[in-house]
Symmetry: C2
Subunit: 365 residues, 2 copies
Amino acid sequence: MQAIASHERVAIDLGDRSYDIVIGAGLLDKPEAFEGLPQASDAVIVTNEAVGPLYAQRLTTTLQTRYRHVHTVTLPDGEAYKTLSTLNSIFDALLSQGVDRRTTLFALGGGVVGDMTGFAAACYMRGVPYVQVPTTLLAQVDSSVGGKTAVNHPLGKNMIGVFNQPVRVVADLSTLESLPQRELIAGLAEVIKYGPIADEAFLDWIEAHIHDLLGRDVNALAYAIKRSCEIKADVVGQDERESGLRAILNFGHTFGHAIEAGLGYGRWLHGEAVGCGMVMAADLSASLGTLSPQAAQRLRNLVQRAGLPVVGPTLGTPRYLELMRLDKKAHAGEIRFVLLDGLGSAVVRPASDELVAAVVEANTA
Amino acid sequence: MQAIASHERVAIDLGDRSYDIVIGAGLLDKPEAFEGLPQASDAVIVTNEAVGPLYAQRLTTTLQTRYRHVHTVTLPDGEAYKTLSTLNSIFDALLSQGVDRRTTLFALGGGVVGDMTGFAAACYMRGVPYVQVPTTLLAQVDSSVGGKTAVNHPLGKNMIGVFNQPVRVVADLSTLESLPQRELIAGLAEVIKYGPIADEAFLDWIEAHIHDLLGRDVNALAYAIKRSCEIKADVVGQDERESGLRAILNFGHTFGHAIEAGLGYGRWLHGEAVGCGMVMAADLSASLGTLSPQAAQRLRNLVQRAGLPVVGPTLGTPRYLELMRLDKKAHAGEIRFVLLDGLGSAVVRPASDELVAAVVEANTA
């Protein structure tokens, strides 16, 4: 592993919606990380009660070099608040502050803040630009990249949202220093994901460096983030609106969403549910014969070494099936799964309720 | 004026978002009006309590020739319900009925139903297609075409929404038979609008046929709708996202929105507010010297002959200015107006508070 330069850029190629992901330490304080953004008179930082006190003032100072007014909107913290009602509170704040269409929003926080800010930016006065400034590992490697925005609905996660690409992603590695270990681990679930679906060599690398990652070695984190973003950029560049390929990024998410919805959002972190969901999806792949049992076991071991759960909560198998039928990939009641076709390659296909039920039963407490 | 064929098509050219507007009598019952739409297993008709009982069953019967399941969601009737909360009730219904991403929504009703259905279609599972089936004159000539969707916010009309083009517009002239006269008249405001902003010959035609239009002569209505859609298609084709030219379609709307918001949505119909707003905007144009007083008077006479209000409600001039400063065309607190540069040509420019205040005072009770 090489030490990285002061910052790196990963380009995401989407025609007139292309943008850069800038990755580096201390970027919050560097005006150059924000150079070249669309002209605007106002900037609005959308953050939450946990992240705002740590970083909003630093970002404000940096943005004041570019924008006449820099406002802040602070949301409550947590997946439980990723709702249409919280979204509306962003609109209330923007309209109360009287900001117009020449405004850029900045999502300063994790995936929840990013998802809601991107959705709000799509809808405020029918669209203003936004910048992702992710402060969690999960957001830096996954949710801040690719333009998926959404809020949850009591009947399903991320059911209400739009595709809306940011104009830039600024991933400041230094912000990970303040991340609780549980959230760092949850982010590792999405890092691990990129190996089995797209790059077995990256899976090897993660296995070799899992202790460095858990110990927050800055070079290890920088490489993991960069490689994750490269894989995601490649997939999203080929299929922005998930008409096919992009669905592979949801490896582990069909089971994972059922866990999150079944327990109530926020009980397990998203990454924890995805970690456990990947174990289940690998098992289902093994049941269908597209993955060797040894490879499924290898993935389970890595998920466990990362400190992620490998045993799902007891919701009852019928409840798992019911929740998965609401998955956005389902068609006419048939659940479709992202499965592994060997390590490093993923496919989307349906599976019978019987096989899925057996996998759920084998992998829950 | 010529009699029209059984139906006419106006193409709206937006690259891969292009679509047709089909205009004719009795189209609700004609499966051919819906041919060529995207494949889907489910159709969901979104309508309201006033329109649904009249037409939902007929549209259902027609759509059953194409879709396995045809559902209906019925909203309360009126601009007062064009809110994020009503939008959420559409999501509740879609998720409760378990419809997936292979679903097409049909907006059966006026502008409120169309705006909310188009917005819901953009957001449901990050986007499903939708068809506009406008049943009011206003929706047929204006709001169903061009992909502007929105809901209102207490601090401003249409503040929250997205650009989302329908995959077709099916304007059944027969549905206008059930339209209350007040709503027909409100729709005429948007028909009249197209003359002064884009086509003086069309203004001449409307003046010559205002009695036929008020008397619901089907050939007169058909021509007015077709010509209005042609002008709108031309403008939207040049500037889909209102970075410039498209704003001229908002002639009369800056004053009009202030009237609607100041009185509370629903007190005046949107078209009534626009009718009165056009009189004010023409007066402002005359004050600025871009329109002759005679031309402004000519427009006022036509608005009055259509049965639309030409005197605004007394909100107090400061309140008018305050509400207009929230207009989406405003930049950094400066209100920008669509003004006439002679009849048949429009420009967008700011005007001083003093001039605007004088116009408001001259045109309110």
